[in-house]
Every structure is written in structure tokens, then in C-alpha cells.
Amino acid sequence: MGYTIAEKILMRNTGLDHVEPGQIVMTKPDCCMIHDIYTDFVVKKIDDMGFKKLAIPEKAVIFLDHLCPTNQASGDPVHYHRGFELSNRFGIERIHAGEGISHTLMHEYRYALPGTVAIATDSHTPTYGGGGCFCTGVGYTEMAATLGSGEMWMKVPEAIKITVEGTLQKNVSAKDVILTVLRDLRSDGGTYKSMEFMGDTFENMEMSGRFTIANMSLEAGCKTALFAADEKTAEYFDMPLSEIEWVRADEDAVYAQELYYKAEDIVPQLSCPQGVDNVHSIDEVKGTKINEVYIGSCTNGSLDDMRVAAEILEGKHVAPYLKLVVIPASIGIYKQAMKLGYIDTFVKAGASVSHPCCGLCCGQPYGLMSDGEAVLGTNNRNFIGRMGTVRSLIYLSSPATAAASAIAGVITDPRA
């Protein structure tokens, strides 16, 4: 009997020669990420537990991205200051403030590596599974205990195998694939499971697309989402393939569930108000008027996403009544997008291009919506009130659908 990717990584991490779903194992996480909003609580819990020093400060990394630059003078600055306190008191040398979104930087900086175990205080941690890293979100108490002890228990997850084969249509992308999967699995269909993606569609997909899919798998409730490590992974992380090619499922691995799709059948999809798994295909919602478009987030703020949006917006202008906000996910992506002329294209098309941060996706400026207004975003959640008032409406789509819709002012099929 073979093993899933999740099982193989947990076996490597724990040194066990066999694991099975449901078993509890003690892991030694290779990377522990703390982001603002939780810096304050992590410091408090470390103190409550009486740790004077951390077992693994060299494995920790702090990002200030949700509240940086700050939004509210009353409460936000404390998270920033406590972030630096955490760094200074406990010798955590890796701290990044205002460089962009933590989940993007975790793989850009090569902190979350193929075949390793990573934990973070944020729910969208499965992102790095796009690079074959077993990664999952934890609470601040567990983060404090793990930093102090170097260990964290995990239950070995069952796995869902998701196979996609064939070639995606033009302007249909990773986001449409994961929205299709979410439509079928629903918001709890992946609970506590490892969602493992395979098939030639993913083999031909750029790393940015794999990160998009892993990121948004969390919306099905998964513990982690994983792609096998291949030549593209090795090139992205600048590692020899021979070191990481073990990060793939065995042919005879056992799955709790299997899903299969033909890439050619996948059409642009949108999450509609209000629930990520309220997914509808473009034909059902095209023509719906929108007031704002947001292109960015840890889901779809990559350089590839910027390119797709810029190619559609090139030489065009957004609808007169529509606000377009574009946020590259990191400073590195921002610089590249400037060099390649994408930022110029966005500005000429009428967009506001903002500094790299979580921004509107977590209800931070700029672009919050009012009652009855509709926003189409490339982010990952459309919970009630997340991007404005409780009566504002949120649609989620790929960058191509978002860019095409920004020009038309109504939800538009990017294949047309």
C-alpha cells in the first residue's frame, strides 16, 4: 500500500516508517510564520507558558501585512510594535514589514520549501502546498507552544485526489479550476483532509497557478493542499530536482475520495453573494452590474496575474462609473510589473494601484463598499461584510474575468 503526498512528508518529518490517517504524530515544523493581528496574542501566550527563550527562533518568521500601513490609529499600531517586540525579545531575525502579503512572501523568500512542514497563524497557509510544502493554519496558543517547544502534534489527514487532464481554454485559469472544485466539494467537503492535485493540466501550470489553487483549497476546509514537486518546482525554489522529487504520491496511495475533470470542460466561474461555495458559471451571471473591481490578494496577486490583467486592459479604459483597485501581492512583483509596463497599463486604464498588502480582501483600505454596491474581486472570500458593509455584495473570479468585467462595467466572459 502506497502513501499520499501528505503522508510522505509527515513520515519524513517525524522519522516514522509508516503513518495512516487518523493517527496522531508529533511533528517538528520547519517554518513557523506569525502575522500581525496575532503578534500580540503570541507574545502573551509565550509569557503565560513561561518560555524565557524559544526552541526554534531560527525557524520563525514574522510578517506585518494585514495592518501595514495601519488603518485605524486606535488599535492597529500595537500589532506592529508587538511584532518587533516578538522579534527583539526572542531573537527572531526574519521580520518583514510592509513588503507585501505573508503567504506570497513565504514562497518568494523560499521560507516554505518542498517536502517540509510549515505552520502559520493565518487560515490561508495551505498556499505553499503549491510548492509541495505541507502547511496548515494554527491558533496563537499552538503557535506559542510550538515556538517554545519546537514540536506540534498533528493528526494524519485522509486525502482527496483531484485530477485534471487536458488544456484549459484561453483566459480560463487556475482560479476557475479551484472554483469548480469548490462548487462540487462545498465549504466543508475537504474538512481535515489533504487535497492533492494531479494530472497533466497541473504539470503544465505555472507555479503561480498552483499557489492560487492551494491557497483557495482552504475554502473547502482542508488541512493542507498539495502538488507534487517537479521540474517547475525545482526551478522556482532553485533546488536540484533529485532532492525533492520524492514529494509525490505513490501510484497505489489510498484516498478517501477522488474527483476528475477534463480541463477543456472548465469555464470561467464566479463565487456569488454570499458564500465561497455559491459558485456559478459565467453564463449564469454575465451582465450583472458591478461598481468596483479588485485585482490582488494572496490568491491572485502574482506577476502572472498582473500580466493577464494588463494584457486585457492594454489600451482600454474601465467603465466610467467603475472603480478599479490593483494591488500586486509583493514589492518584488510590484517592481517587475513596473519594469514590464503593467503598472503603466493599469494607471492609463483608470486603476488605482496600491501598495502591496492584504488590502481590501480583509476589509482594509482602499475600496470598501457600501449598501447595495457590488465588487468583483480576485481574492478568496466573500463572507458577508468582509469588503464593506453587510449589505454590500461580493463576487469572486479569476484576474481575466475581473479585468474584462472592469472594462465593460458588468460581469463579462473573458473568452469573448
Binding site: 493517527q23 504524530v25 501566550k45 503565560d48 507558558m49 518560555f51 496558543t141 507552544a145 517554545g148 502534534w153
Partner: protein, 165 residues
């Protein structure tokens, strides 16, 4: 790490959610002890006043589903119930329960072998004995077992750090 304990069984159904374990309106009470007087009130109003320390819950599937409130396992623990055997647990309740020092055991076969009021014995990492039946359970790593015995993550590490001075 040989360790066993016995207790009287309370039987609970499938899908007991955290709002049933501790209704939201009691979440404002100052301590888990006070909250525990209302534990499982909507389902079993007599339970909180008649449960004894050392009692064991045997439940169906998906125990602790719903809202992620951390005081759901805390108030069960405050009743003196430190072990729940269920067909399955909701993920967040499971982590919160274990990190609060409770023995949460996933096992399909206990439920049909016992009735409320029976006595059950848990031999940690080996088996559950009830009504003459012996049902095997999965092993847990020794260091996690220590965390549970010490009362949870915060207590475990405070104790360890105090000892190290």
C-alpha cells in the same frame, strides 16, 4: 506509559454542536466552572447537575461541530469529564480539547457496545474495555500523552518552564 482510568458513561448522539454544549448566551459567564452548570442544557438538562468527576462521554459522529468557541471543551472539562469517545470529532473542537488536556478518542465501535450508565475502562494507547468487550484504539506519541496528563498546552509548558527555573 501504562495508564488507565474508568468512568461512568453518558451517551450522546451524532452532531452535538458547540452551541448545544454551551449555548451562546452563557458565553459571557466569567469562568468555565460557572458555564459548566449549563453544559449540554438544550440536549440533556439534567446532565450538568448530576455528572460526576471522572464520567465519560460516548458520542456519535462529528462531536463538537459548529462555532469554534474554545470554552466548549473547557466547560465539559470543568464538569470533571475529561474523556470523550466519539465516532468522529469536528476539527477545531478536537484540537481545542486535546490542547486543553482532554482524552479525545476516535473509535467507531464503542457506541453500540454500551448504554448510558455502564462503566468503561480506557487503557491509553491500547484498548477500551466495556461490557466484556475489548476494543483496540490508536496509539498517541508519548510527548502528547504528557501534555494531556499535565492538563493541556499552557499548563504543561508552564510546569516545565517552572521546573527548569
Amino acid at each position: 506509559m501504562e495508564y488507565s482510568f474508568s468512568g461512568r458513561i453518558w451517551k450522546l448522539p451524532d452532531d452535538v454542536d458547540t452551541d448545544t454544549i454551551i449555548p451562546g448566551r452563557y458565553g459571557v459567564l466569567p469562568t468555565a466552572k460557572e458555564m459548566s452548570k449549563h453544559c449540554l442544557e438544550p440536549l440533556r438538562p439534567e446532565l450538568a447537575s448530576t455528572a460526576r468527576p471522572g464520567d465519560i462521554f460516548v458520542a456519535g459522529k462529528n462531536f463538537g461541530c459548529g462555532s469554534s468557541r474554545e470554552f466548549a471543551p473547557e466547560c465539559i472539562k470543568a464538569l470533571g469529564v475529561n474523556c470523550i469517545i466519539a465516532k468522529s470529532f469536528a476539527r477545531i473542537f478536537y484540537r481545542n480539547g486535546i490542547n486543553n488536556g482532554m482524552f479525545l478518542i476516535e473509535c467507531d465501535d464503542v457506541y453500540d457496545e454500551c448504554k448510558e450508565g455502564d462503566t468503561l475502562t480506557v487503557e491509553v494507547n491500547k484498548c477500551i474495555r466495556v461490557n466484556g468487550k475489548e476494543i483496540a484504539i490508536k496509539e498517541m506519541p508519548e510527548n502528547l500523552f504528557e501534555i494531556i496528563k499535565n492538563g493541556g498546552l499552557v499548563e504543561h509548558y508552564s510546569k516545565m518552564n517552572r521546573q527548569e527555573g
